[in-house]
Subunit: 302 residues, 2 copies
């Protein structure tokens, strides 16, 4: 297992290597075998593995490197976060939710399998994410493991990701203000990115100020990322992104791009990116890779 951490020459190499290491960890940690419920295992693997930018997992791994957490432990937490993210994508894609047929360039889970299997695969991925965090291999200190569970559960639940998706659904036929859209996105994608950024500080038993700096970085990165994602949806071609585009506007989805227009939204993303990077100043050169990531996220084309 080779992990490129903060000392690596380029962000691209670090992203690539970390994604490969997370893929290995998922392969080890997800269920397999010829049980009667093998179809469930297959659906869990189908939607978690073989794709995705692994942005959340990358944050966990790079945040952990700041506190000399063992790469093996960091990869377990990275894999858990990616399982939770994959579950949310499976459920968001369901016909009763956003009704998306494609995800990461291939048929979404309920198209490749069926709706019932997709619902169960999401459910089981959520359970497995918490199980992985709770297992002794994740950290020798049970207080650290249980704080990882608590913080991830908070990020995932009614005051986090699931709550944000609820607001998003309710907002389809309602014009939200800039503040309301920001709150929606904070919950829907921001909380999980925040957890990903601060997980290393939890594992490394960092000072609270350091944990808070990373959490603030994750929060601003998340908001910048969401605007970048919405800009992509509004401007890019479907084949570049690997999923249907232009759907948000058609569905009347609440985005800052729709509210502010492309240029002002782009300026807002740039401002958030500056802010995100500034939270890492106290880490000096060791925070450079995470700073580079911010600019990569805002300027990405897919």
């Amino acid at each position: 297992m080779v992990l490129t951490v903060a000392q690596s020459p380029t962000l691209a190499a670090a992203l690539h290597d970390t994604a490969a290491a997370i893929e290995d960890a998922l392969d080890r940690l997800l269920p397999k075998g010829a049980d009667a419920q093998e179809r469930l295992y297959q659906a869990m693997r189908y939607s978690s593995m073989g794709g995705g930018k692994r942005l959340r997992g990358f944050l966990v791994v790079q945040g952990s490197a700041l506190f000399n957490v063992s790469p093996r432990a960091a990869l377990r937490v990275a894999a858990a976060v990616e399982m939770l993210h994959a579950y949310s994508l499976i459920h968001d894609d369901l016909p009763a939710m956003d009704d998306d047929d494609m995800r990461r360039g291939k048929p979404s889970c309920h198209k490749a399998f069926d709706e019932a299997t997709a619902i169960l695969a999401g459910d089981a991925l959520q359970a497995r994410a918490f199980e992985v965090l709770a297992e002794p291999d994740t950290h020798s200190d049970p207080a650290v493991r249980v704080e990882l569970v608590r913080a991830l559960a908070e990020a995932a639940g009614a005051h986090g990701m699931a709550g944000g998706q609820m607001i998003d659904l309710l907002a389809e036929h309602e014009r939200l203000s800039e503040a309301e859209i920001t709150r929606l996105q904070m919950l829907k994608t921001g909380r999980l990115l925040t957890f990903s950024a601060e997980a290393g500080a939890i594992m490394g038993k960092a000072a609270l100020a350091q944990r808070h700096a990373l959490a603030a970085y994750g929060r601003d990165l998340g908001l910048a990322f969401q605007i970048a994602d919405d800009l992509l949806d509004a401007t890019a071609e479907a084949e570049t992104v690997g999923k249907a585009t232009g759907k948000d506007a058609t569905a009347g989805k609440a985005t800052l791009v729709a509210l502010l227009g492309v240029e002002r939204a782009r300026a807002q993303a740039a401002l958030l990116a500056e802010q995100a990077a500034a939270h890492l100043d106290s880490f000096e050169a060791r925070g450079d890779l995470l700073k580079d990531l911010v600019h990569h996220v805002v300027s990405r084309r897919a």
Copy 2:
């Protein structure tokens, strides 16, 4: 808060009082308030509160009483288990799964709200269950809290409840053997009942032999309970049960009642009940209430 524990005169009173105390705990622990995602909170409360036998919560509370665990802590764990159970019912009732319009004598979650809200309410209930277990109020020892999380996640996931539901769906058009049906039910309902029965031993840091005795009790109780449930479905009237009956046979669902017939299934349930009670012999008179519960479960009419 009044809790009737093992010393109470009658099982009926203990069941009643414990259900009321669990209802209070759910009210305290579930989200509420006028947030933008209030509809999600409402759906979570709608499907968790105001109904149900609270069998799983009762097992947690009575198992905890054997080890002098504080009733307040036991009720938090009981509420978490009931949240997890409620989430599984919400998702099982969805049109893509068992397609049930009624649950606990009222419209199921996706009928009272809508499918998207029901999916999210289940998702958020699962997250909240793990969050409640992980919070410091549940136990002063983080090692205990994280073991509760690990064991519940294992019981809920691909090798437990979700896996059992997958097998159940796959079995709709296939005739299973007695061994296969038993395994299906072990996963689908048995694992969560087993966790409920052993949770008190985890909280009370009991000797492993005691934890295993309670787990074995929970496993056999679960199998007996499932047969009793299937017998009810095959023989009772819809209005007594509070949900549609006779559906299992119509859907070609795999049950021991369908395979063995009513009389042999009844005998099998009685045998499992004997076995379940015997696991509690080492607790002497302190285990009487849990023994009474077994016979109550097998002979229940609704």
